[in-house]
Subunit: 81 residues, 2 copies
Amino acid sequence: MKITHLDIDVDQWLGALGCAIRNKRKELGLSQEELAHLIQIDRSHMGRIERGERNLTFANILKISAGLKCSPSALLMLAGL
Amino acid sequence: MKITHLDIDVDQWLGALGCAIRNKRKELGLSQEELAHLIQIDRSHMGRIERGERNLTFANILKISAGLKCSPSALLMLAGL
């Protein structure tokens, strides 16, 4: 999804956020399944989030950053946001 | 909505984010209507976001921060996240 008038490529940024989540998860030595279980998000949904396929909600950003033991703003910064 | 096992009060943080958006908007001298029009979000939806009543999506966080001329991570930091 492109937001042309604001020159924002949402898909690109969803991909970057997914990579940041995956890298941070691996840094903590967590499997995708362990992180999904820890924060009570369905594992396949977690996989789609990491692949940048889901326009995740603010609540899920809070959950994921809590599970990765970093602040939501720090997680976004890891994604270059 | 509380995420008890992670000790996260989503509503509290949605409220804090809404306040940060409102404060930044006012700092820029924008009305709610002007910001909503600029980023092509329905004005009443914008009002509910500012009141912390909507679990907004990542795409809307990108739009709102672009409209407020700050990075998404900076916007979250303004909310204490």
